[in-house]
């Protein structure tokens, strides 16, 4: 995988992970172009795009788009499942995850991603193992900090900004 982007329906970037060295300018350009292209696609269209010499695989979960760029020989369908597995992991970690969780705790979302994908390849396919690794690293984290942040920031706005729980729009 070359990179992964998460962005909202409004085109706001929520997470970006680049597995190939690119300049900031290039990254920005790619992001802008892709966000535009993907947002312009209709819901009935297929989740794969050919873009430059890459293949783009994207999937929408509630208000969030998950978008991956893979190489020519890579399998599009399994990439969709990578996205789905990542959402499952987020969901399990945050407990019915919503866009807000990712906005306010994006560093956690990155940690989870890093345990799942490393250097652009799937590192661990067992959900249990990934979460175990995260918990281990989290162990010292003051649980309260996480919870209180969520309570104080999330709850009030939760309904306003986010459509609710990230639900998978089935293909």
């Amino acid at each position: 995988m070359q990179f992964m982007l998460l962005f909202s329906r409004q085109g706001k970037l929520r997470l970006q992970k680049w597995y190939v060295p690119l300049s900031d300018k290039e990254k920005k350009k790619i992001t802008r172009e892709l966000v535009q292209t993907v947002l312009a696609r209709k819901p009935k269209m297929c989740s794969f795009l050919e873009w430059r010499d890459l293949k783009i695989v994207y999937k929408r979960y509630a208000s969030l788009y998950f978008c991956c760029a893979i190489e020519d020989q890579d399998n599009e369908l399994i990439t969709l499942e990578i996205i789905h597995r990542y959402v499952e992991l987020l969901d399990k970690y945050f407990g019915s995850v919503c866009e807000l969780d990712i906005i306010f705790n994006f560093e956690k979302a990155y940690f989870i991603l890093d345990e799942f994908l490393l250097g652009g390849e799937v590192q661990e396919t067992s959900k249990k193992n990934v979460l175990k690794a995260i918990e281990q690293a989290d162990l010292l984290q003051e649980k309260t900090e996480h919870v209180s942040a969520r309570v104080s920031l999330g709850v009030r706005k939760r309904t306003r900004i986010c459509a609710g729980v990230l639900t998978c729009i089935k293909m």
Binding site: E76, L153, M171
Partner: protein, 1077 residues
Amino acid sequence: MSDIVEKTLTALPGLFLQNQSATGPAAAKASFSSRLGGLVRGITALTSKHEEEKLIQQELNNLKATVSAPNTTLKMMKECMVRLIYCEMLGYDASFGYIHAIKLAQQGNLLEKRVGYLAVSLFLHESHELLLLLVNTVVKDLQSTNLVEVCMALTIVSQIFPREMIPAVLPLVEDKLQHSKEIIRRKAVLALYKFYLIAPNQVQHIHIKFRKALCDRDVGVMAASLHIYLKMIKENSSAYKDLTGSFVTILKQVVGGKLPADFNYHSVPAPWLQIQLLRILGLLGKDDQRTSELMYDVLDESLRRAELNHNVTYAILFECVHTVYSIYPKSELLEKAAKCIGKFVLSPKINLKYLGLKALTYVIQQDPTLALQHQMTIIECLDHPDPIIKREVLGEYSYLLGKETGEEVITKLYKLLTSDSISSETKAWIIAAVTKLTPQAHSSNIVERLIQEFTTSLDTCLRQHAFELKHLHENVKFMKGLLPVDKSCEDMVVDASLSFLDGFVAEELSQGAAPYKPHHQRQEEKLSQEKVLSFEPYGLSFSSSGFSGRQSPAGISLGSDISGNSTDTGLKETNSLKLEGIKKLWGKEGYLPKKESKTGDETEALPVPQENIIMENVDQIITKKDQSQVLTQSKEEKEKQLLASSLFVGLGSESTINLLGKADTLSHKFRRKSKVKETKSGQTTTAQNMTRSSFSSSSNVTYEEDYYLDNLQDRGDKEVKKFSLNSELLDSESLTELPLVEKISNCRLSTPSLFADNNMEVFHPPQSTAASLANEISLASSLLEETTEHMHSDLMEVCNNETISVSSYKIWKDECLLMVWSVFNKSASELKSANLEIAPAENFKITEQPGCCLPVIEAESTKNFQYSVQMEKPFTEGNLSGFINYQVMDTHSVQLEFSVNLSLLDFIRPLKISTEDFGKLWLSFANDVKQNVKMSESQAALPSTLKALQQELRLHVVDIIGNEGLLACQLLPSIPCLLHFRVHGDMLALWFRSSCSTLPDYLLYQCQKVRAWIDPQVPVPIPCFHPGLTRAFKAECFVSVFLSSRCKKHGKSGGDLVSKDSESPGHLCIVYPKTQN
């Protein structure tokens, strides 16, 4: 409303501060951790981009202040990092925080470290200079006994790591392959995978360990090793054929559900693993019957077992079909796989349909009859709303005629063509499909109608396709031969490189046509210049030649990707139509009396799908067989041209890069060499620089020494001896033929010294090469007369080839820096038109000295080129680059590039003023910098400090009053800088003043550097970098950071750190970790 928000936000920091003071640390903590929330909420409340920019800018300013404040705790720093990441994600520059991210990773506790590492991985890329600063931390964490720390280090290593630093961590990572925890082993495998990707030769020796990882008892570790194997097998499948059996066995176990249930994904056993294995098998079995036979069984089982209850099963199935069709064919399997595809194409899910169609292209290449069963589905797909599907369909359409007649299909296609709802790109595809169908159709009414309609299309691409069709249609017999009814084209030989065009290309180029430029480049240019298509009437000039239409784009073969703004000029020169890029259309009859539209460009923007191989093939064949026909370029051709351009690289003229040619190997060699030099000087902290300057300053000492010799007496004779020794060295050696390196090593052998031998051991510099280089230069013959009058650096070779060797040295004249490049002609023949040019550099004013133009360099002689250099604004290091070109025996001209580093110190000269003048100047200067420096006892004496300052910084000692010293220098041409210092116990208080705002900072930095060499006790702070600084400069800092660590060789065990030896000050070493067995 937004105003209010803004005000509230502006007030926020103040509120936090109040909290802090009012309710103590607890409140501060709480408010701090919710700041990201505040920021996010603030942003969501805003309505315009402008407001957002304002808010973020404010936030960044706050952050900047916080991160650099001395009392910021690591916990706060962690919070700041998170907000910085957020700001960067929104597209704002937060580069000032990069260094703090590294610090956080280095100093923080586990949680802070984790955020630090994350920030580093998000902020930096693997060739970022700052990454070097992380190496030390990574090494430390890799050795930690805390699992989490080791995990973090391995994670960062697998994401970004500077290639040149791999040796520093490789043994540690290798060790981790034997770690008892599977998560560590797994991450170690992935780190090695990363190393393999960026520097394959570094991990060559551990291939055996990869095998061990493949046999690991833990599934995760085994699965991770497959990434490496997939990569290696892709590059050289024959070396891993013996592993086929193992891969098959593993796949069998996986398919058979033998893995722990943890690895199931929606009750499908380890799908990622399965797909990885299938891909590997596909590569191993390609064109290899014996190997393929080993896997038929397991592939059969995979096809059978796949119960289609979840999307992931389709993913496996797709990969399986792909593998079946990649390896040596077995008809039974092929049939089964083809049947499976039905499940894809019949699926209502569009993703599956798309992949089904894609899979069909594999099938058709092997055996079109197997695809017949899906014909109807394919035709139905034509009506699909998603263009990508349609394109896929049309690619294989024409070969699937069975039940439906050609006419029916064509009619359907024609209907589609006339509908408005489809894009012109799809239309082009449809016409292409019609072309392929035409030979099989009995009546051609519709075809003729179509031709009539579309040869006058506004769209160049469509028109071109229509013309292709027209010409083929006029010659039915030829067309039938070209597009056989019952075959796909796999047995036809296609000249994909378009070699038949070479002659034409060369001809056009020689007539001044512009080389071909790839699409994206053209597009960028178009965007940048907003060029408008201007169409002149088509001239008749090109109508006779079938190929004239290819003008500029055909120039691909000659180094096209380095061509500049060529499209324009190329088109102008042929004085014909100016279409954007490639799609041009004209027939035999010449000009088409139509207006153009721009649609072609839009269609171009969409990439051509790779799957349409067959169509492409056909087009290629058309191109080949139909050379006499007027064919213009379609998109497919453009792709071929890209391919061709990559194939033809090397056929270019002398001036282009020739990968195979001899001349070029040389220049490559050179480039590489100079790069090595650069990195070396980067890594090695400018070893040479330092040494050089110490040499030069030694001579400085000789003429200034008597001035304060008294002061030095109490320091004992050691140093004096050393300096005089050095000056002797300088005197004798620079004029005799001893190369630089030898000199340095001489110094190293001398007694423990302060400055000279600093870091030669640090980076294992390839002394032998340097020495051999230096040996070639005859020093004595090349030094200028002036050299003897002024201080000068040693002669350093900057570039060479078999004919010449260019060396350079600096002469520190009083009024300027004189750079001398001496060109030594090694060959036996004379060189003509020798010309040396120095590229204009941003911060330098470069003036060529008279007498530089030396058109002829006789055999085995040396000529000098001199340039005087002035620094236009202060900075620490700069680079001067240039080239030399010359002609050998009137034949070809050769060009060599080189570059030299210049440091601020090259432009600093002692300023000889009186104490009174010093006093006056001191009061008149506004810019000052103060710093207290702790010294070790032995160093605390005034004289040694003086000496260091004087030598390293070229300061003039104005006066010494008690334990205070006054020094002065100037930055050429005439920016003065004054230093007042006071030795106070073991503290040294430095105080710089200057009329220039930046100069004191730079000098202070240099000063600290000097101190770093002197005193092993003083920890060196991590320098904070300005983004505009050069790599070499940052590398210097890097080493000084390394200095702060202790040398394990002389202290702790398992040594792997760079450090300074406390016993002999100035001595530095890096000890790479040894493998622990």
